[in-house]
Symmetry: C2
Subunit: 173 residues, 2 copies
């Protein structure tokens, strides 16, 4: 019974922090960026937040995870984020997976899988490579439905806008 309660509380906690990552992703969508958000958590406190801003700043490194990690480093005055967890709405790419490993993040929680570029379980399994000097515990599928729906809605809206622009273009011919 205690074990079951523990699991329920753990799920609640995970969803609480993933909800904060989802809120970050919504900020990205407001900037017309692909909606991906991330938070870094230490001792039940959020110490870093980030949302995708690659287009806005035209900087290839401005992924949600990178910005959340950079903020956490600044907050702790340390590049080592030992004992910290990272929550992100989409499976990290190679770059972000490398940053997570380099920062010694303890646990990674992600929402939706990324079959095209995900480097945690889809294309690679970078988080548990015994040759590296750090391994990261992974839990996937946290609030998966909400995280992936947000992305689907975003890309559907883009397709609609493009279709409407094409129609308008033809009407003006």
């Amino acid at each position: 019974m205690a074990r079951k309660l523990g699991k329920v509380l753990m799920k609640q906690e995970q969803e609480q922090f993933m909800a904060a990552a989802v809120a970050e992703a919504r900020q990205a969508a407001l900037l017309n960026e692909v909606p991906i958000g991330a938070v870094v958590v230490k001792d039940q406190q959020i110490i870093g937040r980030g949302h995708n801003m690659r287009e806005h700043f035209q900087d290839v490194t401005y992924h949600a995870e990178m910005l959340a990690i950079m903020e956490a480093c600044e907050r702790l005055h340390s590049w080592r984020l030992e004992g910290c967890d990272l929550y992100v709405t989409l499976e990290p790419c190679i770059m972000c997976s490398g940053a997570i490993i380099n920062a010694r993040i303890a646990n990674l929680y992600y929402g939706a899988a990324d079959p095209k570029a995900g480097a945690v379980e889809s294309l690679y399994h970078l988080m548990n490579d015994p040759r590296l000097n750090h391994q990261v515990q992974v839990a996937s599928g946290v609030m998966q439905e909400e995280c992936s729906q947000m992305l689907k809605d975003f890309f559907r809206a883009i397709r609609r806008r493009k279709k409407a622009a094409r129609k308008k273009g033809r009407a003006g011919d």
Copy 2:
């Protein structure tokens, strides 16, 4: 003959830009950082420079390659560094390899191999994964001797300082 001359010129050009990366690495050493330097080149011009500043800023993302790429993005006002080459003194880690791929860098030239964390040829072969939407041409061993000697000298000096500190500690007992 023309082909041979072409090869000589190409080698000269590679060494010219790698020398700029080595100069960056020496800047890192002056800050007591592991001496790693990088430059991004487009149309024979250096458009981004970076040296490792991880300890100085306590930011896990401040690797030489990342800083050179960020500067190049700013310079071109674009996260896509198409037609750009990256020169770096040490084989890139997973994070930097991911950034190189994400930025669509055309050619990567590196000096020394990194058997413990290199993700280009040592632990992984990330640059030519056909599942990803971009592949990078790689040339390794450019000014290898100088690049690796610089690292050896740096770590030897650290060991010496530690040994001297231990001796001093014992003398003070």
